[in-house]
């Protein structure tokens, strides 16, 4: 292919593919980034933004396809090759060392030294101009740990400048900043633009994208949707491009009959969530949507007693209950399938049986003695009922696939017949076939009369499972949708706090 690239194209992705085993994470991505622009990358969680950036930064190897910088193909296999090619990524989770000074962080890996002695003065002389350029004018000997997140970002930006970066990738840079800091960051970004630096800006916040971006590329399910000039597309159109997908038949029928009120939550708050109130009825599935960090999971954790509550009360079947710790929730018949299956849901080194009966045993033990026969029976029963694929009840659970391990976690709760089951990202890291099975299971449980709450970052999942959806933003419930009104656009509007009229 002869080069038809014009001079102003700095970075070019050509047919980039990434495969994890049999799973396609990126499929045939091609687009250009122009020199000196702020190029926004948007898409839902799991759309492939991070994967693409990890390929660019050398954290992942590319499966197929090419990357060009300044018209030359580059091979990037590790972060230092990325830096050589002029690419720097400033991650959301900043990789700085808090216990050493700004300047030491700045020069880490490129210290000026003589015979192994660190030349502090030279390092400072080297660092200060760049720090100034990035908008940071404080004593460079200050400890990194005493800086705000915004200031740490500036240090990393300065470092990128010192490394002669051509492209700086900002991954959700404003996720943890306040309004004032966001303004300051934008001022710095504009300044960098003037210096000829190209930025790739990843964010969920539409308003920011339209404020700071020049062009916007959309990814969806690992595929490239298109690149748009920000002046030629409206926010609503962009959201539809991000989420608009065809319905699939993985989801069960949503028509369920709503029964009596099972659970009522009144005004609970803690450091993550503010003043949350809602009710859950028998036979319905209640979904919690919202962006990462909006407090969805934290609501479940607070209700379950996994996190402390500062205020508020919880009623089950109209009776007030006191839940301070998970053991209280267990007693009151609330089950919780946590978000992180490996670190919170299962005990990897124990058997399927020991995992499945962990809660059952608490309920059934007599004078502290286990009832092994009952445990064996219940284990075999659930392995059959939920079609858990395992070599046997003695199999170590970490050898099971994600979907089967998740079924064990669900069975763990079902064994004590809970009144309410809280599911946090029930299908995370589970392949499509197993997802459908989990959905069928959730649907069946709801029909059997268990109150179900589902939190998910997969919008399709929320929309197609839930009879009612509560959308969260910044720790508060920003909207409630039910029945036909549950659409992707509506959920996204509430989640991102976009003011819009009924008609969309």
């Amino acid at each position: 292919m002869s080069s038809n690239m014009t001079d102003d194209i700095l970075l070019r992705f050509e047919n980039v593919k990434k495969q994890f085993g049999s799973v396609k994470a990126l499929d045939d991505i091609s687009f250009d980034v122009k020199r000196g622009e702020v190029h926004c990358l948007v898409g839902e969680n799991g759309a492939g933004k991070s994967t693409l950036m990890k390929i660019l930064s050398g954290a992942y190897d590319i499966t197929e396809g090419k990357i060009y910088i300044d018209g030359k193909q580059v091979e990037i296999h590790n972060p230092s090759e990325a830096a050589e090619a002029g690419i720097t990524v400033v991650y959301q989770e900043m990789n700085t060392i808090d216990k050493i000074s700004i300047v030491d962080n700045f020069v880490l890996g490129m210290e000026k030294s003589r015979c192994g002695f660190n030349l502090v003065k030279k390092n400072v002389q080297f660092a200060v101009p760049y720090l100034k350029k990035a908008g940071l004018e404080i004593n460079p000997h200050t400890l990194m740990g005493s800086l705000s997140i915004a200031q740490k970002q500036m240090v990393m930006l300065a470092k990128a400048l010192a490394q002669k970066a051509k492209v700086i990738v900002l991954d959700e840079p404003t996720a943890m900043l306040n309004d004032k800091e966001v303004k300051l960051l934008f001022a710095i970004i504009r300044h960098l633009k003037k210096e000829g630096i190209t930025l790739i800006y990843i964010s969920h916040r539409m308003d920011e994208i339209f404020e700071i971006g020049d062009r916007i590329s959309v990814l969806k399910d690992g595929a490239y949707v298109g690149t748009f000039d920000k002046d030629k597309i409206k926010m609503e159109q962009l959201i539809v491009k991000m989420v608009g997908r065809e319905l699939s038949d993985v989801y069960p029928d949503k028509k369920r009959s709503r029964g009596m009120k099972l659970l009522e939550v009144r005004n609970i708050s803690n450091s993550y969530i503010k003043d949350i109130s809602f009710s859950l009825y028998q036979g319905e599935i209640l979904g919690f949507a919202g962006l990462v960090g909006s407090g969805r999971s934290e609501v479940l954790r607070a209700v379950f007693g996994a996190d402390p509550k500062w205020t508020g009360e919880i009623l089950i079947n109209g009776k007030k209950v006191f839940i301070h710790f998970p053991k209280d929730a267990v007693r009151d018949g609330i089950g919780f399938v946590p978000e992180e299956r490996k670190s919170q849901g299962i005990i990897g080194c124990l058997s399927v049986k020991d995992n499945l009966t962990l809660i059952y045993s608490q309920m059934k033990a007599k004078m502290g003695f286990l009832r092994k026969k009952d445990e064996d029976f219940i284990t075999e029963n659930y392995i059959q009922k939920l079609k858990i694929k395992t070599a046997g009840s003695g199999q170590m659970i970490q050898n099971l696939s994600g979907g089967n391990a998740q079924k064990v976690v669900v069975a763990k709760w079902l064994s004590i017949s809970p009144a309410v089951l809280l599911l946090d990202e029930p299908t995370q890291g589970i392949d499509v076939g197993a997802k459908a099975e989990i959905y069928q299971l959730i649907d069946q449980l709801a029909r059997e009369g268990i109150g179900i709450i589902v939190v998910s970052s997969d919008l399709m999942e929320i929309i197609h499972l839930s009879n009612r959806v509560l959308v969260m933003k910044d720790g508060r419930i920003s909207g409630e949708l039910s029945g036909e009104a549950i659409t992707e656009d509506q959920v996204m509007m509430y989640a991102m706090g976009v003011e819009m009229n009924e008609a969309s």
């Binding site: 996994a306 998970p326 267990v330 990897g348 080194c349 124990l350 092994k372």
Partner: protein
């Protein structure tokens, strides 16, 4: 192609059993004094206190905990027991009272680890030195031998051909075997050691359970201290430097209990303790001095851990991993 995945636990337990039998066969070939009832039962008696403490400590380590304080607790218990007896308190009352020392020391360690979040290694190291210090202070650094009642050496009796020490060790071992395998507490120990957060989110009172396990280990340390005092007929502060905490850990690790918790067995610990007992007995029979036994025991611990890590695939790699 389907590869049969061998259970590392099974391999390890079989391996330790093979090692034990190999040592026993080797010793019976080398020394004609080894293979007879008196010597063998003597080995078990020698290891009785170790087995008693290690029984509780195995459950503790399965839950992810660790206790370095047994020697200190033993010494303090021994001194207090002797002092009480000298002061005229009847032996049974004195025993019950001095058992409280172990429970208190265990509760103290448990509090430090569970509530104050002090790493177990440091917390119990502190408990060891504090109890050791008290033992020396209370006894003026001298073993208490004068004025003890006649029945103070009660443990040296035999039930038929079996020493009482061995019977008591067996009772404790079976007790903890039942706790670990048949009760909720044992199930919790595995769950907490395997993944404390999952256990907590499954309604397990992780803090209370951990504390109970420290208290049980403290109690068994005290119990071992009482038996030891009776056996040597004195209240001896020097028990605090017996190195038993080291042997307990070696026995447990040899037995295949994971350093990280979540895996392990009491039968393994028993085999581990018997390996240690046979090794030191063998070296005694061969006239190898005690000082050399330290070297051997240290080496055994290190080899056990290195082999354990290799089996788990996180230690020395024999195959180079292909770079992708």
């Amino acid at each position: 192609m389907k590869r049969v995945k061998l259970n590392t636990n099974m391999i390890q337990r079989m391996a330790t059993l093979v090692i034990l039998v190999t040592i026993m066969i080797a010793l019976s070939c080398i020394s004609d004094k080894y293979l007879n009832y008196r010597n063998l039962i003597n080995i078990i008696r020698q290891e009785s206190t170790l087995i008693i403490i290690a029984s509780a400590a195995t459950v503790l380590m399965i839950s992810g905990g660790m206790d370095l304080s047994p020697a200190g607790v033993m010494a303090l218990t021994s001194v207090v027991l002797a002092k009480l007896c000298v002061a005229g308190v009847s032996l049974p009352v004195a025993i019950v009272f001095s058992l409280m020392i172990g429970a208190a020391a265990g509760a103290f360690s448990g509090f430090l680890v569970v509530i104050a979040k002090v790493p177990a290694m440091i917390a119990t190291l502190g408990t060891w030195y504090i109890t050791k210090g008290f033992a020396y202070v209370l006894s003026n650094s001298y073993a208490i031998v004068q004025g003890l009642p006649k029945n103070f050496g009660w443990v040296s009796v035999y039930a038929g051909p079996i020493p009482l020490m061995v019977i008591l060790a067996a009772v404790v071992f079976i007790l903890f075997y039942v706790i670990l395998n048949k009760t909720l507490l044992g199930k919790y120990a595995y769950a907490i050691g395997g993944n404390a957060e999952t256990a907590r989110l499954s309604g397990v009172n992780v803090k209370a359970v951990s504390c109970v396990l420290y208290i049980l280990t403290g109690l068994m340390s005290s119990f071992a201290g009482i038996l030891m005092s009776s056996r040597i007929s004195s209240g001896d502060p020097n028990l605090s430097t017996s190195g038993i905490e080291f042997e307990v850990i070696v026995a447990i690790i040899l037995g295949g209990t994971s350093l990280l918790g979540g895996q392990g067995s009491l039968v393994g610990t028993l085999i581990g303790a018997l390996i240690l007992g046979n090794l030191s007995n063998g070296m005694n029979l061969l006239g190898i001095g005690t000082v050399y036994q330290f070297i051997v025991e240290g080496a055994v611990l290190i080899i056990a851990v290195v082999v354990d890590l290799i089996l788990k695939g996180s230690g020395i790699k024999f195959k180079r991993r292909k770079r992708i």
